[in-house]
């Protein structure tokens, strides 16, 4: 069966920030933040109509500065957080803020995309995450399962836990921890684990991965020299609580079991340049997506270390079909870890990739030149996993 062609959308500006609208579980929607030093920056709300293969977009102005990182609240479709550069007095400072988009855009617009005339709407500022004492914000992550009241931000060598109060209009620093050591330590990236009641956060700085307990704000594990060079990103396996993936400038993607930090469980070396992003599929954790500055996006099938190493397990109510399943299972067993597909639609470095929160078989990737590509998992594989 033929796979659908990728859908490509071009932004006018350079862009690095991409996130699915996490709280939205029906419509396929991505948020993209642009980087421009000379013009007003924008947040593009990109709606993908799966049936008609059409993209609808809405543009929000983000006037405070170029967006380096964007993340959407898992509880409220209209709330998102950005990290942005503010240039003043020949100084660049990266700040973070929580925003609310206009109500009518929350669930997307279904107008025809002839909005060249339509004036871009503006975001409503909910609150700033005050970082005057802490330095540049590297990223903001939401508590994945919560009510959207807790966020963590990484600023230079500080890890800050914020409580959003009064319908997010106020951010109170609940607790913080900081990294001490030689030289200038700087967090590059962080993720909040969906396991353990959302009490764990993992961060990356230089070549090290660290795990933190959000209750005590203390370090719980540390993987020194996780990568040969800078660690760019990490992600938790949504189904296996001790597993996480990391990627970095050594072109490798490594999979870790946090109970044994001396050796990676698995290492992939498919990219030919720095890997900037790694993402587990939210439901089928054998599917791992990586984006790299070699302009490629690679979808890998890591069956052997996934939560379904022998394929989809038979449910009890399928007893009638059990025989069929058995035979199928056997044919599935020899499934090897492999690269499913390499996507080469980008012509510049890919700095962000992410899965849709609504459709587990769909993902978006964003390259620096502002090209957003929406791709699907190959159908053959999809059915293979499902059946």
């Amino acid at each position: 069966m033929e796979d659908d062609a990728p859908v490509i959308y071009g932004l006018e500006f350079q862009a690095r920030a991409l996130t699915p609208q996490t709280a939205e579980t029906d419509a396929i929607r991505f948020l993209v933040g642009t980087q421009s030093l000379k013009y007003d920056n924008q947040i593009h709300i990109i709606d993908f109509d799966d049936e008609n293969n059409i993209i609808n977009k809405n543009v929000l102005l983000h006037q405070v500065g170029e967006i380096w990182h964007i993340s959407a609240s898992p509880a409220d479709r209209g709330v998102l957080a950005t990290c942005y550069n503010r240039t003043s007095d020949s100084k660049v400072l990266t700040c973070a803020a929580v925003w609310r988009m206009p109500k009518e855009l929350e669930s997307g617009s279904h107008e025809s995309p002839d909005d060249s005339s339509s004036t871009a709407q503006t975001l409503e500022l909910l609150c700033h995450l005050d970082n005057t004492a802490h330095g540049n914000m590297a990223c903001v992550v939401w508590e994945p399962m919560g009510d959207g009241k807790k966020i963590i931000s990484l600023a230079d060598n500080h890890i800050l836990l914020w409580d959003l109060q009064e319908s997010s209009s106020q951010a109170v620093l609940a607790s913080s921890a900081s990294l001490e050591g030689k030289g200038q330590l700087k967090f590059t990236s962080g993720r909040w684990s969906p396991h353990h009641n959302c009490t764990q956060v993992a961060t990356a700085n230089d070549t090290t991965l660290r795990g933190w307990d959000t209750r005590s704000m203390s370090q719980i594990y540390c993987i020194e020299n996780a990568h040969g060079q800078l660690v760019r990103d990490l992600d938790f396996n949504p189904n296996k609580q001790y597993y996480l993936a990391s990627c970095g400038d050594d072109c490798k993607v490594k999979f870790w079991d946090t109970r044994n930090v001396t050796e990676p469980v698995k290492t992939l070396e498919e990219h030919s340049h720095w890997v900037w992003n790694v993402r587990y599929n939210h439901s089928h954790d054998q599917l791992v997506l990586t984006g790299s500055s070699d302009s490629r996006v690679i979808l890998s099938n890591m069956v052997s270390i996934s939560s379904e190493p022998f394929g989809h397990l038979v449910d009890d109510d399928d007893i009638s079909d059990q025989e069929d399943h058995r035979s199928e299972e056997k044919s599935k067993e020899p499934l090897q870890d492999n690269v499913i597909a390499t996507y080469e639609e980008h012509e510049d470095s890919v700095y962000a990739v992410d899965w849709s929160s609504a459709d587990p078989w769909l993902f978006a990737s964003l390259s620096y030149d502002g090209r957003l590509v929406i791709n699907r998992v190959p159908r053959a594989l999809k059915y293979h996993i499902l059946l």
Partner: protein
Amino acid sequence: MAAAAAAGPSPGSGPGDSPEGPEGEAPERRRKAHGMLYYGLSEGEAAGRPAGPDPLDPTDLNGAHFDPEVYLDKLRRECPLAQLMDSETDMVRQIRALDSDMQTLVYENYNKFISATDTIRKMKNDFRKMEDEMDRLATNMAVITDFSARISATLQDRHERITKLAGVHALLRKLQFLFELPSRLTKCVELGAYGQAVRYQGRAQAVLQQYQHLPSFRAIQDDCQVITARLAQQLRQRFREGGSGAPEQAECVELLLALGEPAEELCEEFLAHARGRLEKELRSLEAELGPSPPAPDVLEFTDRGGSGFVGGLCQVAAAYQELFAAQGPAGAEKLAAFARELGSRYFALVERRLAQEQGGGDNSLLVRALDRFHRRLRAPGALLAAAGLADAATEIVERVARERLGHHLQGLRAAFLGCLTDVRQALAAPRVAGKEGPGLAELLANVASSILSHIKASLAAVHLFTAKEVSFSNKPYFRGEFCSQGVREGLIVGFIRSMCQTAQSFCDSPGEKGGATPPALLLLLSRLCLDYETATISYILTLTDEQFLVQDQFPVTPVSTLCAEARETARRLLTHYVKVQGLVISQMLRKSVETRDWLSTLEPRNVRAVMKRVVEDTTAIDVQVGLLYEEGVRKAQSSDSSKRTFSVYSSSRQQGRYAPSYTPSAPMDTNLLSNIQKLFSERIDVFSPVEFNKVSVLTGIIKISLKTLLECVRLRTFGRFGLQQVQVDCHFLQLYLWRFVADEELVHLLLDEVVASAALRCPDPVPMEPSVVEVICERG
């Protein structure tokens, strides 16, 4: 002489033939000539004159065809009278002389005839006398025969009586022997002449048995039995004490057997005694092993074991088989079990001793020891085929050989690691000022030759096992499996594989950051592996195959597979080298970009020092790689085109790319332009695999470095002067880096992109005049 010749045929032509002139003389001459012919003489010789030119000349006096008429005619015609007269007298004189000669001869012969006749007559008389005497002799002989017959007849009677008397005498002697037997036996026993006693007993036994119904014999028999019992007891006693050596014991047993003792029991006892002795040998051997051995060398040990234990075992076995042959298969089985048990203990000891030898390096001694060991055990092997000692010995030898192979493999690995350590030290050694680093090529040659010599030494050492004079070399294991699986696969192929693995492990080392492995070592190893791929592997394997005539059906690793592995290793090492070196430069560039405050930087006056450093390092790497790898291929455009290309780059193209960014046109254009440009340029694979040449390596390193620069630039925000500084830096790099790469277009592209990105990251992009950039770069 002429006279003597004439004597035979013509005795008759005697004195009466008076010469009546030349005419009358003629037939005589002819006859004479004919006589001479008869004696096979030529006329010339006979006449004592030189032969005339023509033997048929009728005028030659002595010729065969002499014709008197012709001669006379000739004389008459040719000679004057006086001469004629002379010849006439001469001839007459000659004739007279001849006649007198002839007469003398006749007289002499006549005398001889007379004496011969006399002799014959005398002989006739003598024969007649002899005949008479013969007759007399015959009659005498007949008389003698007659007498002799008569004497024989007379003596016949006496002779028979004498024979009978002799028989009686013998019988009496035997009887006497029997009657004396008890005392004799006692005496023998007292004297300790057991053999004699047993022989007597044996001789008497049957007779006594036969005649035991006679009371007198019965008594003797009883006496004898008592004595024999005592004898047997004494023998047993002696046998049990066992102090004496194996031959004596064997004798005892033999005697006891002869006395009819139960063989079964004796056999047990015999073996028990033999065991005692052999165990003593084993204990003494074990003592030599000891907890803290003053270890005699292994050769001595096996010698001692061979002569002591194996010799003893041989003796025992030989004696046993001789003594208890009657026992049949059960007895043989017993002996085999005995030999097996003791043999296994002996083997255990030998193995312990050999195990002590494993660490040692001297193969020849070991092989000699094994050879003796094995050779020794072949003797009882023939004797005790059922015990399988020879097989067990062969097995031990095989095991030792295998272990030796393992040991050598370890040795080779250690040698390789040692070489690497040496190289590391050489690389790490502080450089002498003025001396341009350690000679990589030299180091490489050292390493290669040292490894090769180690391999050869190992092969030579292992080869001892298959030497012709070694007793076990013709065993199937040593002819087949040892050569192919052991030496070729296990040792050589194993070593090459492990070498590749060791080398590859440098690629996987976690020391990517600190660079635990010096890059030069990576480079050197890569070259080493490549050399192996091209030549050394096939050389070594050919050498091995020649030395060890591999002749069995085991599949062996083909040369091509190994070569492929080596090549892969070389490629990985080189790729890793590129990565490591690229990383070093990348780090420099990254730090330089990340730590600088680009917004508030001053107007550029100089190329930043770090760029110079990058160029310096790249040059150093270029030199380093050049020591080991060939130049490689560049794209055609090159050499002096740099200036020209750069001017294009800095003016038109650069301008073209900046234009949209600082003229307030639609932002779309930027993307459009850069996208269009990208359409025409190939995608750059940054960490792409490298080829085995200098240009490719350098290209890889530079690609990595510049890509890093690009990514870092994109993460920063630049002020106007920051942008200009980047411009200057990039121009500088452009000036110096093109010469290292295969395709200088690549450098242009990447640097273009760096500058373009910096421009995008600049809120106030005012590029520097290209001419100014050039001036700064040339100055710096």
